[in-house]
């Protein structure tokens, strides 16, 4: 008795095995995805489902890949992301091993740590907070050159906040935000109003932090 996954695999393997090389591999397996791409939103909500994975297999992206992605998404130079004491690179140096780096030559750490150490999520927080506050400050200070939070300086309304949220998801997670996710970001505006004049920048920095340190951004 084989479960469905195995049957799918065997079918795929047989299909591949029948091919001489990859160039003739089938693309029929992409049907679901193509269909999904042509549905309008209302139809999607009515028909499509999310099922939990039975494998539940993810991999940690690692400090360097994650930080590079963060830098690209925030439009910052890699050197602007985070430096401890303004001097020591957070991801490539100070927290490198904790975030899955290897250093075989002197430390003789040949493989990434098999289990995340306690310090890993804290190091991630430090890097993300540093980068996100930098981006938020830059965008708030020079709206004309803003990268992510273009609408921040002009008392953003609902549409503006959702636009910034959508941009955040596109740049950091490379996808469109779901409406519910935009709802949360918009609602978060009220949560930070007690920061007074700093509220807009704080909303931007914390929104950025929340997405940048989400498991979706850190794992794949």
């Amino acid at each position: 008795m084989f479960h469905k996954h195995t049957i799918i695999l065997l079918a795929l393997l047989m299909a591949c095995a029948a091919c001489d090389d990859k160039a003739t591999s089938t693309s029929n397996n992409t049907t679901n995805q193509n269909d999904a791409g042509t549905q309008d939103m209302a139809d999607r909500d009515a028909v499509l489902q999310v099922l939990p994975s039975t494998k539940s297999r993810v991999r940690f992206k690692g400090g360097v890949r994650w930080t590079n992605q963060l830098a690209r998404g925030l439009g910052l130079d890699r050197a602007q992301i985070c430096k401890e004491f303004g001097e020591y690179d957070c991801a490539a140096d100070v927290h490198f091993i904790a975030l899955g780096g290897v250093e075989p030559y002197n430390l003789r750490i040949n493989e990434p740590l098999p289990i995340a150490p306690l310090t890993a999520p804290i190091a991630v927080d430090r890097i993300a907070l540093s980068a996100c506050t930098t981006r938020a400050d830059l965008d708030a200070a020079t709206p004309a050159d803003a990268v992510l939070f273009k609408e921040l300086a002009s008392a953003p309304d609902s549409a503006a906040m959702r636009a910034m949220g959508a941009r955040l998801y596109q740049e950091l997670l490379s996808r469109d935000a779901e409406p519910g996710e935009l709802d949360e970001l918009e609602a978060f505006w009220n949560d930070v109003q007690d920061a007074g004049a700093a509220a807009p920048a704080e909303w931007a920095a914390f929104s950025c932090y929340a997405v940048a340190t989400s498991t979706e951004m850190l794992f794949y």
């Binding site: 469905k4 695999l9 990859k22 693309s27 992409t30 679901n32 999310v50 099922l51 490379s174």
Partner: protein, 492 residues
């Protein structure tokens, strides 16, 4: 013991193994289990992994603990092999309907489905969920190969960067497998994959085990003994492009790296004297071309493993572990050779508790004994001594330390049950073996999936490593194209 390390075990395990005591695993159980459950996916190789019943043998997992209770309760331990094998089928059946890991699925259901009966988070797949509804995935598709998911993974795994929003959109508009292969080909050329300190480079570290303080060549340490860059360069070369990965063990050349915007690797040939003239004594390779066996005879490998010892068991054990995936210290890859160990060097390895491993290790070590590492022996190395070289009379130097018998240590040995006359033949047998393909493909599997193949994935794993051997002629890159198309990689 990992899944991929089991194929050589099977039923050849000698009775001597059981002299270790009652606490040890029962290797015949691996095949006996599959007599009872021949259709279980975990039995694809003909026997199951030790982890079916053990965490690390002899410690039992929750399923093993259940089984132990049912195995001739009241009888004195250790059970004889005969009693063990006789009692096993009934004991297995007695706990079929139990749920060892408490995940809601019986042990039998888990075996049939290929999930792990001792890990609660590993359950039979959600077949019903995929079948019971008109399932149309929103985004991640957990019931079929998901090309968008795979596209993202390929970009991260092989190019080292997550795809941008625009790239995801573009691929999502035309998510074909051809485009996945094209993307993979591009990434396999990336610096992230092939440059110094890139993915392939880092994969080699556990095989090379570098130490900067004794490095020679570029970035030499204070005590330059050998240049491990030669080893890294060689590994990346052999596992990239369209090169034959068997040459990790069989090549008779060396490789240099050409840094630049795009890193490239090229072969070179020099004899030891030419290499001394070219690179100086500290870096020069010492083994002449006819005696080279890929990375096994590289200076760094010999220097860092053969330290002062006549019969270099550590060297052989590292080769066995790094290239065939067998860690003898974990009782992996044991394959008794009749009449061994001989104990040529008077180390007491014929004692029962030692012979368990040395009956395998010693005969596979002999072919390494003619290669010089760091010194050792009777003090005077002699006029003909050339470090890190092939020296057919090497053993004679150790009689003062290890006794006269050590001089009779043969160069011929036995690997995986096959006689080999010397290390060149050792390398040929090793590189042509299933364990070599399983080990190398297994390294990439673990790199890309983060773990060894799960029981339910053994068929996929076997498909990949067999095609690596048969269809792809040991070229890693075509193998990777297969790997990313598996369900294990491609279904979230």
């Amino acid at each position: 013991m990992s899944i991929r390390n089991t194929l050589r075990l099977a039923s050849v395990m000698a009775a001597s193994l059981f002299s270790i005591g009652q606490a040890q695993a029962k290797p015949p159980a691996q095949t006996a289990f599959c007599v009872t459950y021949p259709d279980a996916p975990a039995c694809t190789p003909g026997f199951v992994d030790c982890s079916t019943c053990h965490t690390v043998a002899p410690a039992r997992n929750v399923y093993g603990a259940q089984l132990e209770v049912m195995m001739l309760p009241g009888d004195a331990r250790p059970l004889s092999d005969q009693d063990f094998l006789t009692a096993l089928p009934e004991a297995l059946r007695a706990i079929e309907n139990d749920d060892a890991d408490g995940d809601g699925y019986s042990n039998l259901e888990e075996f049939v489905a290929g999930s792990n009966a001792s890990v609660a988070s590993d359950t039979p797949a959600g077949e019903n969920a995929c079948n019971a509804i008109d399932y149309r995935p929103s985004g991640l598709d957990v019931c079929a190969f998901d090309p968008v998911y795979v596209f993202k993974k390929i970009k991260i795994d092989f190019c080292g960067e997550a795809p941008s929003y625009a790239q995801m959109k573009e691929f999502g508009a035309n998510p074909t497998t051809d485009l996945l292969h094209t993307t993979l080909d591009e990434c396999l050329k990336s610096e992230y994959w092939i440059a110094k300190d890139g993915v392939l480079w880092n994969m080699a570290s556990s095989k090379i085990r570098p130490i900067q303080a004794i490095k020679a060549g570029d970035g030499a340490g204070p005590i330059p003994l050998a240049d491990y860059d030669d080893d890294y360069n060689y590994f990346v070369y052999a596992t990239s492009g369209q090169h034959d990965a068997r040459e990790l063990l069989t090549g008779d050349y060396f490789v240099e790296r050409n840094d630049g915007e795009t890193t490239t690797y090229t072969q070179w040939q020099r004899n030891p004297i030419q290499d001394v003239n070219e690179r100086g004594y500290n870096s020069a390779q010492g083994v002449v071309k006819p005696r080279r066996a890929g990375m096994l005879t590289h200076r760094w490998f010999l220097m860092s493993n053969t330290m002062f010892t006549g019969i270099p068991r550590t060297t052989a054990a590292q080769a066995y572990r790094a290239y065939l995936g067998f860690d003898i210290s974990k009782l992996e890859g044991l394959d008794d050779v009749s009449g061994e160990p001989k104990d040529y060097d008077n180390k007491g390895v014929t004692r029962a508790e030692c012979a368990v491993c040395h009956a395998t290790l010693d005969p596979l070590t002999y072919p390494f004994s003619r290669y010089e590492g760091i010194g050792g022996g009777d003090g005077d190395l002699g006029e003909n001594y050339i470090p890190f070289s092939y020296n057919p009379s090497r053993m004679a130097r150790f009689t003062g330390v290890d006794g006269a018998y050590v001089a009779e240590t043969p160069e011929a040995g036995i690997l995986l049950g096959q006689p080999v006359a010397n290390l060149k033949e050792w390398a040929q047998v090793a590189s042509a073996s299933d364990p070599f393909a399983q080990s190398l493909v297994g390294d990439f599997w673990k790199l890309l999936l983060g773990e060894d193949p799960r029981p339910a994935e053994l068929q996929q794993f076997e498909y990949v490593w067999r095609r690596f051997m048969d269809e792809h002629e040991y070229r890693v890159e075509p193998m990777l194209h297969d790997l990313v198309m598996t369900e294990a990689y491609g279904v979230p």
